[in-house]
């Protein structure tokens, strides 16, 4: 036997975990300690390359890592203990899976010989997280640990990104084994996502685009995930073709909101022009989006007259909800690059002047218009004011879930990708505050704002304490309507105005709460208060909780009523009680 005691690659499992993080360039780790991860925490204590951000609840660690990942394009890394630590991660893992966000989550596990014994803080972590991860592993041998961890980073970040879990029993953390730095054969040969699009399909797509009379580009989060180059190529494609472009909630910022071909967001609360353009188009180019039910409305009436091109890295997204004519499997940026090249070489941009004229008539309906009010702050107005106040700042926005999220998407203009972090697929209330922490950790000097609702913000409120501890000056801007507004809106529209448990009873005094946490509390009650308070919020270099009192009963329009098609939108000005009742007929009548 050779003496291995001086081999630098001999180390404990716990040391391997920290070494792996360093070797993958991880600078920040979000976590919460417990018995089953103490050996790893001991290693963290003895080094300074990876900064550990201690949250107040494991869910917060998960969402913070999501915000970190979405704003940087790098994987977010989480460390939690066994049992309750792992189960508290289920929501952020599912959230990351739905929104294709790369997360590497390391969970502690009870020692291998106790697995299956109902040991203290034991749970079947790989069993519980199997359906909410892209892949997961239980490592039983310290000599497999390095390979599994490297593979975990690879799987999380390649193809369609997503969350992975590596479950490491405590005895494996203590055991000594051989580490190796990342290398090619760490990767499952069975996992080789396709990046480059098929050339013949791309030609077909270009021919379709060149022959279009009423085209539209519909882009999604996949363009953002692909990296900044993809957004650049998307912009160039819009420039070269002259086509109108809309985007999903997840895709905002890939094309600038001030761009002249921008139609606004599409879908249930999208603009009238975006949805009408989708409905009446003859050629649709979908890039990195997945025709989800909040986008399509009723599927049998979705864009009935169009030929559809679909670029997606995940073959299972193709033909899942909507049949497409030209599927192209590959990375959004890679395929857009090839498509552009072929288009420029072989195609001429079609004349779509009359199509733009038609779009102009839809735009003229001004579907985001709302009635001004001098006495109470309307939520739409508050977002517009916030947007104005942040101009010129290096701004990142996260949101919670509800009406405020939709108003943020409608009224806050995004010029760049990676600036907008929201829970789209899962719709997780409580996402925005910890996500903002994660963003701020990655961008210390930027302005990071969580546009929140009074109900959502209470779900992960405790992370204010994390913000204070790590001097993360996030701004939590609560559109406080004293309701679970989105729930109330649906109860009004669909359940006979019976407002069952949607009133935010016994709200805390947010200003005092901020004070208790050691943050800055601000409040605006009248429209006239907004400018000054916003200015103060932005200028203080500490975490701020901003209680913005808005009209309690405002509803979010435009809206595609349930089971209706894109061309049956309800616009705000037309959303009188009678019109709304008629639009939602089939549901319960409105009171």
């Amino acid at each position: 036997m050779t003496d291995k005691s001086h081999d630098p690659n001999q180390m404990t499992g716990a040391a391997m975990i920290v070494r792996t993080l360093i070797d993958h360039g991880v600078q920040h780790l979000f976590g919460y300690p417990g018995g089953a991860v103490l050996p790893i925490y001991d290693e963290i204590f003895q080094q300074s390359e990876v900064e550990h951000i201690l949250v107040r609840h494991e869910q917060g660690a998960g969402h913070a890592a999501e915000g970190y990942a979405r704003s940087t394009g790098k994987p977010g890394v989480v460390l939690v203990t066994s049992g309750p630590g792992a189960t508290n991660m289920v929501t952020p893992l599912t959230d990351a899976l739905m929104d294709s966000i790369p997360l590497v989550c390391i969970t502690g596990q009870v020692p291998t010989h106790l697995i299956g014994n109902d040991a203290f803080q034991e749970c079947d972590t790989v069993g519980i997280t199997r359906p909410c991860t892209k892949h997961n592993w239980l490592v039983r041998d310290v000599n497999d640990l390095a390979k599994v961890l490297h593979e975990a980073f690879y799987v999380a970040t390649t193809g369609r990104p997503g969350p992975v879990v590596v479950d490491v029993p405590k005895d494996v953390q203590f055991a000594v084994g051989t580490y190796h730095p990342p290398r090619r054969d760490d990767v499952h040969v069975s996992y080789t996502p396709r990046v480059k699009g098929d050339a013949a399909q791309i030609r077909k797509a270009v021919a379709l685009l060149a022959s279009a009379k009423r085209p539209v580009i519909y882009s999604g989060g996949g363009v953002i995930n692909s990296g900044p180059e993809a957004s650049k190529l998307l912009r160039e494609l819009v420039e070269v073709t002259g086509f109108p472009i809309t985007s999903t909630l997840m895709g905002l910022g890939a094309y600038p909101a001030t761009g002249k071909n921008w139609l606004g967001m599409l879908g249930m609360h999208g603009t009238y022009e975006a949805n009408m353009t989708m409905h009446d188009c003859d050629v649709m180019l979908c890039v990195g989006a997945r025709f989800d039910d909040r986008i399509t409305g009723r599927t049998d009436a979705f864009s009935p007259g169009s030929k559809k091109i679909h670029i997606d890295i995940d073959p299972s997204s193709i033909n899942k909800n909507i049949r497409v004519d030209v599927p192209i499997i590959g990375d959004a940026g890679n395929v857009l690059g090839d498509l552009l090249q072929v288009f420029k070489a072989e195609a001429k941009r079609p004349d779509i002047k009359s199509w733009w004229q038609e779009i102009a008539t839809w735009r003229a309906r001004n579907s985001l218009a709302y009635k001004k009010n001098n006495d109470v702050i309307l939520p739409q107005y508050a977002i517009q004011k916030l947007f104005e106040a942040t101009r010129g700042h290096d701004t990142y926005i996260t949101t919670e879930v509800g009406q405020h999220q939709m108003w943020a998407a409608q009224f806050f203009g995004f010029e760049e990708p990676h600036r907008w972090m929201t829970s789209g697929g899962l719709g997780t209330m409580g996402y925005g505050l910890p996500a903002a922490l994660g963003v701020q950790v990655a961008h210390r000097d930027s302005l990071v704002i969580d546009i929140a609702g009074d109900a959502s913000v209470q779900m992960t409120m405790q992370e204010m304490s994390t913000a204070v501890q790590f001097e993360l000056p996030i701004k939590i801007f609560i559109l406080n309507n004293q309701y679970m507004g989105m729930v109330r809106q649906w109860q009004q529209l669909l359940h006979g105005n019976r407002l069952s448990h949607s009133y935010s009873e016994a709200l805390p005094d947010f200003v005092k709460l901020a004070d208790a946490f050691g943050c800055v509390g601000l409040q605006a009650v009248k429209p006239g208060d907004l400018d000054g308070a916003l200015k103060e919020m932005i200028s203080v270099k500490r975490p701020v909780l901003f209680d913005c009192r808005v009209a309690a009963l405002e509803n979010c329009f435009p809206m595609i009523p349930s089971g209706k098609a894109h061309n049956e939108m309800l616009l705000p000005v037309e959303a009188t009680d009678e019109a709304t009742a008629a639009a939602f007929a089939g549901g319960k009548a409105l009171v």
Binding site: V126, G127, R130, P131, K134, H135, L138, V155, G159, R160, H188, V189, S190, Y191, P193, M268, D293, T296, G297, R298, T299, D300, D314, P315, S316, I318, N319, K320, R323, W490, L494, H495, S562, G563, F584, A585, G586, G587, K588
Partner: protein
């Protein structure tokens, strides 16, 4: 169109269902079968039959054969969903390639005497089923073939004293010299 109060589009499509046999080559690692089954239950797909066994022990490869039913769009989804799983190497739709052989093995226990016993033996012979266990009042037959042949045999045994059946589920392989 009338539908109850929901923001989801609730009407189902009514495309006709098809039955497909899928061969799935997977890395034989802990939990891989749970992943495949979890995919089917989690997404509401049907499993008519599922067989699995390691087929190349040196490479740690297992082959799973799944018989499933669904609309053409659902079958396409199932294949893609399987294919994108990390430990899955390949998914081949044996029904689409149309050049595959499917076999199942069943052991069929029949109890009785007199004419029924004679008739059971005679039918077993016609179906090329072998007797693999016998007592004075019972037989266990072993029969291989495609599922419909086995179904037919079982139906014939029912009135003759069928006690119980154990089936392996379908295994499938392509015709010709090429592998999957």
């Amino acid at each position: 169109m009338n539908q109850p109060a929901s923001a989801y589009f609730l009407e189902e499509r009514h495309d006709p269902n098809e039955t497909h046999t899928l061969s799935v080559l997977v890395q034989n690692e802990p939990g891989v079968l749970a992943r495949v089954i979890g995919l089917f239950s989690g997404r509401g797909y049907n499993i008519e039959s599922l067989t699995v066994s390691e087929t190349e022990s040196q490479k740690h490869l297992s082959r799973i054969t799944i018989v499933t039913t669904g609309t053409p769009m659902v079958i396409e989804q199932i294949k893609h969903q399987l294919d994108r799983m990390v430990p899955v190497y390949r998914v081949v739709d044996m029904t689409i390639t149309g050049r595959s052989i499917e076999r199942e093995l069943a052991m069929v226990k029949v109890r009785g005497g007199g004419d029924n016993r004679v008739e059971a033996l005679r039918l077993a012979d016609a179906f090329r089923a072998r007797v693999i266990d016998a007592t004075t009042e019972s037989f266990v037959f072993e029969i291989t073939g495609n599922s419909s042949k086995i179904n037919q045999f079982i139906d014939l045994m029912r009135p003759l004293g069928l006690v119980e059946v154990s089936r392996t589920g379908v295994a499938a392989i392509g015709r010709g010299p090429e592998g999957m």
